[in-house]
C-alpha cells in the first residue's frame, strides 16, 4: 500500500482562501459537492474546514471564522474575514489570458465574443488596461473541425494516412476520440478499427478523410504521455555536441545523462525513445556530424549508412 505524504501548507492555505468566499456565497453546501468542485477528497476538505473553523484574530468564539461541518454539509455563518478571494496571482492571470487567447483560435466566433469580454473584465479587475500584447497562434487546419465533430458525434472516419516510415499511403477506419495540438502539429487520437487498438495520427499526414455513420461511443480513457508504452520503443543512447541540443528540443522523452562521460571532449550523452529506424535516421541526419550512436549496437553505424544513402542521390547529377 502506498501512503500519501502530508499536503503542503501553502497549497492548503491557497485552497482555503478561495473556498471560504465561495462557501460564503452559498451558505450551505454538501461536502461531496464542494470536495468535487475543488478537486479534493471529502476527508481533506473536512480536515481543512474544521481547522479553519478554529481560526480568527483571537480564540474568542465570536472572533473565529464562522463555519461548521456536519456529516453531510458545510454551513457558513457570519462573514468576518475572507469576503472576497485573494486577487489573481501573476501565474493565474497569465493562465486565464493565455488560455482565452489560445482557445479563441479553436472555438469559433460563437464563444469568441464572450471570451474577449471575459478577458477584458479580468484585466480590468487586475488593473491591466492592455491584454493585446499576448498573442497565441494556433493554426487550425480545415480537417480539425471534421474530426472534432466525428469525435463528438461518435462517428467513424475512413482516412488515407501517409506513413513517413514506409512512404506509403494506407486506408484505415478509425473512431476518433480526441483532436489535439502539440509542438506545432495537430493529431487525432482514435481507436483504429482495423486492429482494435489506440493510435495517434498526425493530421498533416492524413491525405483524405470521409466521415461515416455514428457508432457506439468509444472510451479510451485519458491520453497517456508520449512513448509511455516502452514495448513499442527502443532506448537509444547517443553522444553529441551540446551546441546541437536544439535539434532534439522538439522530441519528447530526450534525457541528458549528466553522470555519464562522453568519449569525445565536451560532448554529452543523451538517451531518447525511438519508435523506428526510419525515425532515428531523420534525427541523425538533422544532427549531422555532431552526434554518434553509442547503443544499441545494431544502430551504431546507422548515421554513416544513412548519410551514404542520401549522398547517393547526389552522385548522378
Amino acid at each position: 500500500m502506498t501512503r500519501r505524504g502530508p499536503r503542503p501548507v501553502n497549497l492548503r492555505l491557497r485552497r482555503l482562501l478561495v473556498m471560504l468566499p465561495w462557501l460564503q456565497e452559498r451558505g450551505t453546501v454538501s461536502t461531496a459537492e464542494m470536495a468535487e468542485h475543488f478537486g479534493m477528497s471529502v476527508d481533506d476538505l473536512m480536515a481543512d474546514l474544521t481547522l479553519a473553523s478554529l481560526c480568527g484574530v483571537s480564540q474568542d468564539p465570536r472572533d473565529l471564522i464562522d463555519l461548521w461541518v456536519d456529516e453531510e454539509a458545510v454551513h457558513f455563518g457570519i462573514p468576518k474575514y475572507f469576503n472576497r478571494p485573494l486577487r489573481l496571482t501573476a501565474p493565474e492571470a497569465f493562465s486565464l489570458v493565455a488560455s482565452a487567447r489560445a482557445a479563441g483560435n479553436l472555438t469559433g466566433s460563437e464563444v469568441g465574443g464572450a471570451l474577449n469580454r471575459a478577458v477584458a473584465k479580468v484585466a480590468a479587475a487586475m488593473g491591466i488596461d492592455d491584454v493585446d500584447g499576448l498573442v497565441v497562434e494556433l493554426e487550425t487546419p480545415d480537417q480539425v473541425n471534421d474530426f472534432v465533430r466525428a469525435a463528438e458525434e461518435s462517428r467513424e472516419v475512413v482516412i488515407v494516412h501517409w506513413s513517413p516510415a514506409s512512404g506509403e499511403s494506407v486506408e484505415r477506419r478509425i473512431a476518433p476520440v480526441e483532436v489535439f495540438t502539440e509542438s506545432d502539429h495537430w493529431y487525432v487520437r482514435a481507436l483504429d478499427l482495423g486492429v482494435n487498438a489506440e493510435r495517434i495520427f498526425r493530421l498533416d499526414r492524413i491525405e483524405s478523410h470521409s466521415v461515416g455513420e455514428a457508432r457506439e461511443r468509444v472510451d479510451l480513457g485519458p491520453r497517456r504521455p508520449w512513448f509511455d508504452d516502452s514495448s513499442e520503443t527502443t532506448k537509444v543512447t547517443i553522444e553529441m555536441d551540446p551546441a546541437w541540443m536544439w535539434v532534439l528540443e522538439q522530441y519528447p522523452g530526450v534525457m541528458i545523462d549528466g553522470d555519464a562521460k562522453a568519449k569525445r571532449k565536451n560532448w554529452v550523452r543523451v538517451s531518447m525513445p525511438v519508435t523506428s529506424e526510419r525515425w532515428l535516421q531523420r534525427v541523425l541526419l538533422r544532427l549531422g556530424g555532431n552526434a554518434r550512436v553509442v547503443s544499441p549496437a545494431a544502430w551504431v553505424g546507422l548515421a554513416t549508412d544513412t548519410a551514404r544513402l542520401v549522398r547517393a542521390r547526389y552522385e548522378t547529377k
Binding site: L13, S95, K121, P164
Partner: protein, 317 residues
C-alpha cells in the same frame, strides 16, 4: 500548533488591523502560537510572512515612528488583498471554463483562477466529460512575470546567450510550440526577439509605467511564421530552393505549401517544389526529414552545402 492554523490566524489579524502592527504585538495577540524563545519565534514569523508573500498576499511593511520608532509594522490592506468584483455574465464564465479545460499547460493555475473569478457557478469538472479538442501550450515559470511586466510596462532584466539584457517588453507570442518575448533592448536601442525557455535564470522586474509601446507595433509581424524565411548567416545566393520530392512524399509537401509551390511534375509522380531557404539551417532540418526521398536541385551553393553536410557525417565515422 499546525503552521496552517497559525498562518491563517496571522492572516486574519493582519487583514483586520486598522494600523500597522509590530512583531511583538502580533506575538502577543497570537499568544502561545509562536515559540517562547525569541529567536525561534522570529524565525517562525519570517517563515509565515514568506509563505504568505509567496502566495501573492500583499503584506505592507513600514518602519514606525513615535513610541515604536525603528520597529517594523505590518498590515494587509483589504483593497490590495481582495479581487474586485468581476461580474462575469453566464456566457462569459462558460467561455472561460471551456478555454481553461481545452488549453493544457501542465499547471493548475487556470483552474485556480477560475475558482476566484467565477464564484457563482459550479465548475463542469463533475460531469466527467473531457473536451474532444485540446491544445497543449508550453509553459515556463517566467512567463507570468513577463506577462505582468508587459501589461504594466515594467523593464525586465535577464541573461540570454551569455549576455545581460535590459528589455522593454512589447509583446509575448506563442508560435510553433515556443514562447517568444519581443521587446526593445535598451543597450542596443533596437527590437529583439528572445525565446523564453532560453532565458537563463530569473527575470528581474523594474518599476511599472516605464515606457510606451509604439501604437503600430504588431507582435505577429515581427518575424515570419515560416522559420525557413528567417535570414541567417549562411548565404547560398538565393532565397528559394528547387527541391525534387519523390512521389511517395509529395502529399505532405502539397499539404504544407499547396499546389502553387509546384514548379513541375515528372512522369513517375515526383514533383519539383519551390521552398523558402533564406534560413539554411531551418531548411536543412526540413529537407533531411525526407531522408533519401528528396533532393535539392538548385541553387548550386545550397546543393553543395547539403553534400558537404552528408560528407561530414561520413568523415566523422
Amino acid at each position: 500548533m499546525h503552521q496552517l492554523e497559525r498562518v491563517t490566524n496571522l492572516l486574519t489579524l493582519l487583514l483586520s488591523a486598522r494600523r500597522h502592527v509590530t512583531f511583538d504585538e502580533i506575538r502577543n495577540e497570537l499568544r502561545g502560537q509562536y515559540p517562547d524563545n525569541l529567536v525561534a519565534a522570529r524565525a517562525a514569523f519570517e517563515r509565515d510572512k514568506s509563505l504568505l508573500r509567496d502566495e501573492g498576499i500583499p503584506i505592507d511593511s513600514v518602519v514606525l515612528g513615535g513610541d515604536q520608532a525603528g520597529m517594523t509594522g505590518y498590515r494587509i490592506l483589504r483593497s490590495e488583498y481582495e479581487l474586485g468584483d468581476i461580474d462575469l455574465d453566464p456566457d462569459e464564465a462558460a467561455a472561460l471554463r471551456v478555454a481553461v479545460s481545452t488549453i493544457r499547460m501542465g499547471q493548475s493555475w487556470g483552474v485556480e483562477a477560475l475558482w476566484k473569478v467565477d464564484l457563482e457557478s459550479m465548475s463542469d469538472r463533475g460531469e466527467g466529460v473531457s473536451p474532444v479538442i485540446a491544445a497543449n501550450l508550453p509553459v515556463d515559470p517566467r512567463l507570468p512575470f513577463l506577462h505582468r511586466s508587459l501589461a504594466t510596462r515594467c523593464v525586465v532584466s535577464f541573461e540570454y546567450n551569455g549576455k545581460s539584457r535590459e528589455v522593454q517588453p512589447y509583446g509575448l507570442l506563442a508560435r510553433d510550440g515556443w514562447w517568444y518575448l519581443v521587446g526593445h533592448e535598451r543597450n542596443i536601442d533596437d527590437l529583439r526577439t528572445f525565446r523564453v525557455d532560453r532565458i537563463s535564470g530569473e527575470v528581474e522586474v523594474g518599476a511599472g509605467g516605464a515606457y510606451d509601446i509604439p501604437a503600430d507595433f504588431d507582435v505577429t509581424a515581427v518575424f515570419p511564421a515560416d522559420p525557413k524565411l528567417l535570414p541567417d548567416n549562411v548565404d547560398v545566393g538565393a532565397d528559394v530552393a528547387e527541391v525534387l520530392v519523390d512521389a511517395s512524399d509529395v502529399g505532405v509537401v502539397l499539404n504544407l505549401y499547396g499546389p502553387e509551390a509546384v514548379l513541375s511534375e515528372r512522369g513517375d509522380g515526383s514533383m519539383v517544389f519551390a521552398i523558402p531557404c533564406s534560413n539554411v539551417r531551418a531548411f536543412d532540418q526540413w529537407l533531411l526529414g525526407f531522408v533519401e526521398r528528396a533532393e535539392v536541385l538548385a541553387p548550386p551553393l545550397l546543393r553543395e552545402h547539403v553534400i558537404d553536410w552528408l560528407d561530414s557525417m561520413e568523415a566523422r565515422a
